[in-house]
């Protein structure tokens, strides 16, 4: 403690510049305080997510069932593996970043450049992984229907296994055309693409398959979703208003609407940070190659962008916990 007391105060040079309060240079300190404010922003988002989740604690989707894809393993239930891989990619790019900083302390230009390049590549791989994750999330797997009250109903067979809409929806001769502005009154149009199946098709298909049951959003005591009986299921189907495939900002097949909204917003905001981090890293990488810091005799810039990059990693650690684990 007592680090703010500078020795220069006694000989009148306090305001002459060159002081480093708390032993950190201006740029580094400002980067840290930016990180503090950004960390509070993310905390606000994640706390809001927690608020909504506690508010709808009985009907929140189970993350394991939503994020269970892995590249080249189609149809295999692989919860968590993919995000764990993404976490490793980001942690590893953090390691190469800190190695670059370390090499910078020893003024080893080539080493700094190589490690920076590895960090950038890691960042791009992470961004690509996230795009793939989003693609799966938006596309959806099974499809569901939504009632007038906004509840999502999913379909399962006798063993409780999920069934996709395409596996049972009846093929009715009726054509369903998307309403566009030039086909109706000017203010009438549908903003979202027409689902593959209409409500009638799903209902008819359900009636024709006596083995099917409906799974509601609500949790049982065993922390799984409630499966309705056949009678209850048929009764519930009379309330159905929409067919939902995949996810968008209005509705999603996984359950509560806020779940997808928070997912898009928080992982999107984090992905945006990763993207800017990669851009800044590229800038610094070129500066390293051009020898800017060699001339300056200091690689502190690498350290500062390193702080930002680690921060991005730090946020992901929390996003990983609260979206996928908890």
């Amino acid at each position: 403690m007592g680090a703010t007391v500078t020795t220069t105060a006694t000989n009148g040079k306090t305001w002459d510049g060159g002081n480093e309060p708390m032993g950190a240079s201006y740029g580094k300190m400002m980067m840290w305080f930016f990180i503090v404010s950004d960390a509070l922003t993310f905390s606000g988002f994640l706390a809001a997510y927690g608020f909504s989740r506690f508010k709808f604690i009985e009907s929140w989707p189970i993350a394991d069932e939503v994020f269970n894809h892995f590249p080249f393993m189609h149809g295999v239930d692989a919860p968590m593996y993919y995000v764990a891989l993404m976490t490793f990619i980001l942690i590893f790019s953090s390691v190469t970043m800190v190695l670059a900083v370390d090499a910078g302390h020893h003024m080893k230009k080539t080493k700094v450049a190589v490690y920076m390049l590895l960090t950038i590549i890691g960042g791009f791989i992470f961004l690509g992984s996230q795009a793939w994750e989003w693609k799966n999330f938006i596309q959806g797997t099974y499809g569901a229907v939504e009632t007038k009250g906004g509840l999502i109903l999913q379909f399962v067979d006798k063993d409780g296994k999920r069934v996709a809409l395409g596996d049972f929806a009846a093929h009715l001769p009726k054509e369903r055309e998307q309403l566009t502005r030039n086909k109706g009154v000017w203010y009438m149009s549908e903003s979202h693409a027409t689902p593959t199946y209409s409500v009638e098709q799903v209902v008819e298909g359900f009636k024709a398959n006596p083995d099917l049951l409906i799974r509601s959003e609500f949790n049982t005591k065993d922390k799984t979703k409630t499966v309705l009986s056949r009678e209850e299921s048929l009764k519930k189907l009379t309330d159905v208003k929409y067919v939902v495939e995949g996810a968008n900002l209005i509705r999603n097949e996984y359950g509560h609407k806020l779940f997808a909204n928070f997912f898009f917003f928080i992982t999107g905001f984090h992905g945006f940070h990763v993207f800017t981090g990669v851009l800044i890293n590229i800038l610094i990488f070129f500066n390293v190659i051009l020898g800017t810091y060699e001339k300056r005799r200091s690689y502190e810039m690498v350290e500062k962008v390193g702080l930002y990059w680690h921060f991005v990693d730090l946020v992901w650690v929390f996003v990983f916990t609260f979206f996928y684990l908890v």
Partner: protein, 117 residues
């Protein structure tokens, strides 16, 4: 910068990477397995498994901030000016919001005045 001679920290970096990896693997194993003894419990509105996840996450955050972001090499006052506000504000915000969320859940589930809430 350049106040202290920088000895190479590469060994420390790899050790921390190992620790972070092990913690992540433990988290993933627990997350897939979900042992009933932990998952079906309740401590302060959360099950023990979630508490473990959160504690492990904070441990990871500690290592990232202390080793990678090199807070361990900064002066105590600087460290506190960063960590202090974060710890206080985040705990405060989370506490308030989660209690409120839980309360609203209770109102809609059990109360007689949900029609006026």
């Amino acid at each position: 910068m350049a106040h202290t001679a920088h000895e190479s920290n590469t060994k420390r970096i790899w050790v921390v990477f190992g620790i972070l990896s092990v913690i992540t693997i433990i988290e993933v194993i627990l997350g897939i397995d979900k042992p009933k003894a932990l998952y079906m419990t309740n401590l302060l509105s959360m099950n023990l498994l979630n508490w473990i996840f959160i504690i492990l996450t904070v441990v990871k955050a500690y290592y990232i901030m202390w080793a990678f972001m090199h807070l361990e090499g900064e002066k105590g006052s600087f460290r506190w000016s960063i960590v202090g506000p974060l710890v206080f504000l985040i705990i405060y915000l989370v506490f308030i919001l989660l209690v409120e969320g839980n309360y609203i859940f209770d109102v809609f589930k059990n109360s007689d005045y949900r029609w006026i809430f």
